[in-house]
Symmetry: C2
Subunit: 376 residues, 2 copies
């Protein structure tokens, strides 16, 4: 897929936290195939999910995400609906067996996950960074893990707070044999996953993989088959797995768009690196550029501890917050969209997912520098 | 929206039961707007669901479906995820209060709904046409409605069996004051709805309204706020309503495509009729053409009682079923796609939703006539 039609640089840079920017080549291809996918005479949206055409799209998408994320064969990949908030209920309905589950609180999303799980199990807080205003991660050596936890939940990248685990904890070394559940919605495919430390990973697609309405679940085989009776069939992982994500009609367009994104990701290279490794390299570079600029400026500030700053979501504040509206208006004029911070945090936030090129971050830094200079 | 680019008649006719054919003008517009919606510089898939652009799309879509379906102001319209199968659990989680609910069994979908509801309440069978192999509707005067039912569930068009309620029952006249819940997935917007007889209506969008992954729920205000504790927040009707369908990230692309379809529907006319009334007239004509042809032929048969044949889904059988493969292969060659019947029923099925023009049914009848002649 190469870029067509739209002249380079014509589209603005979109820093939305999600739904978020998608690769332009993916959008171009979706537009070109809208009325006739691959000579079928149908739009992908018009295909029976049980027909051979959509079957081929779905099979390829699953194979490609397995390649991209190096998913081991003893994990299932499920295409579901309901997003991360849906999974906050679906995970405990499937995994908790009504017993104890441990939550590590690191920001807004893990707080929501913990709260929702209380409907289904004894949801404990094993650790929390609330006293640090979610600006640093609780040290794993201090986590109070329950002996009988059915699982341990982490949000490995907190989209709203901009805080990210740079590596996954080794629960075994911490004395727990519970499976680790990670909500990787907002950094999936931006870095590799150490599956030896994971029991289940879930993510809404709308940040780094595709459109809203598709949820990706990667779950280890042995965790299937333990759902509570009150788990809806459509959200029972075993039922979904046994039916290759077609127990109910899947979000076919979302799977198609994610599949195009997987192919785009597999084609990306940085030096000798490809796929997620190439993206990780590029994401390190993008994040460094932005954080280094912020750290070197008195005009802007980021409040997250340097050891756990998110590569994907960069909240920042103007020293003089009365300039916020002017900053946003100027940014829009400069073709830099959706930079307003989440209402619970305030300030600004630049989400720089896989689809954001280095040139977009360079443009943002250039604008920020000029704005600081002219408002000093 | 007018048709562009693709020459008239070039696209095949797609009789898929769902996901199903969409209006070509809607697909053309989606392709044209893919990289830049309305000068925003963003694809609809790239917009924050909380931004003003998507807010405008969503508000317009809700206003348009309210107009189309003449939804009274004391009903909420919710855009959700999970499809009809999801709603089979979500409805009893929200409405049953753990008590009794009545189900009228008329085919495959109502059987599934009844079975799933048993997880959450005392799900009774008030009537069933199983002894008639789902070929006629149980007479409302024979329904055994519970005095204390929290609701009465009907599937008003059984997609697989091809059987449809031509009018909604008046539960009050039948001695029940329970709200009527209708699954109108496969005939929504093909005919008017008598809301005075309905408490809640739900439907997956992928048959008559848009792409898979979007569920439409229309629910009377007084039915909100009674969910079971184990109802996931993302599927709690009151939570969804209180947040204007944005409690969690909605399926933004699905809402956009459904919105374009609503606009297309509002523009349709037949004589002095517009919108759903125009579609109903057109659907009556399409269905009559196909059923009249089948009834006048010894080569084809439809087994549903004439009083309750579906206008949307027309299952039919070849008298000599050894011709099935040849019939389907010839149909594909003639540009008539996805005519194979559901595996549980066999034979053929032509789904002729709103997006299927009369010319498509004429082409199908022409092919069937010629196939019968040449295989007599």
């Amino acid at each position: 897929m190469t870029q067509q039609q739209t002249p380079a640089g014509k589209r603005p840079y979109n820093f939305s936290a999600g739904p978020a920017a998608m690769p332009e080549a993916v959008l171009q291809r979706a537009a070109a195939e809208m009325l006739d996918w691959n000579g079928s005479g149908m739009s992908v949206m018009e295909m029976s999910h049980r027909g051979k055409e959509f079957g081929a799209i779905c099979t390829q998408a699953e194979a490609d995400i397995r390649t991209l994320l190096a998913v081991p064969s003893h994990f299932h990949v499920l295409f579901m609906q309901g997003g991360g908030l849906g999974e906050n209920a679906i995970v405990p309905m499937n995994l908790s067996r009504g017993k104890t589950a441990d939550f590590v609180i690191t920001g807004s999303w893990s707080i929501k996950s913990h709260k929702e799980a209380q409907r289904y199990c004894a949801a404990r807080i094993a650790a929390s960074n609330a006293d640090d205003q979610h600006t640093k991660l609780p040290d794993p050596s201090t986590w109070q893990l329950a002996k009988d936890a059915s699982y341990v939940h982490l949000c490995t990248n907190e989209t709203i707070n901009g805080i990210e685990f740079q590596q996954l904890p080794d629960l075994t070394a911490l004395g727990s044999d519970a499976p680790l559940v990670i909500d990787f919605s907002s950094h999936v495919a931006s870095r590799s996953v150490d599956w030896s430390r994971v029991g289940l990973a879930f993510g809404g697609a709308q940040k780094n993989l595709g459109p809203a309405g598709l949820t990706i679940v990667v779950v280890r085989d042995d965790l299937l088959g333990h759902a509570l009776d009150i788990c809806p069939s459509a959200f029972n992982y075993k039922t979904v797995a046994d039916n290759n994500s077609m127990y109910n009609t899947p979000p076919t367009w979302g799977i198609y768009m994610a599949g195009l994104t997987f192919q785009w990701l597999l084609q990306q290279t940085e030096g000798s690196l490809t796929g997620v490794a190439a993206m990780e390299q590029r994401n390190i570079e993008k994040a460094r550029l932005l954080y280094d600029f912020i750290d070197g400026s008195d005009f802007y500030a980021n409040r997250i501890d340097a050891s756990c700053r998110s590569r994907m979501n960069v909240p920042f504040f103007l020293a003089d917050e009365s300039r916020n509206e002017a900053f946003l208006a100027g940014a829009r004029e400069a073709g830099l969209l959706q930079l307003k911070g989440h209402k619970s945090v305030g300030g600004m936030r630049a989400s720089i997912y896989n689809a954001m090129p280095l040139a977009g971050v360079q443009a943002l830094v250039g604008y920020m520098r000029e704005f600081a200079r002219s408002h000093a």
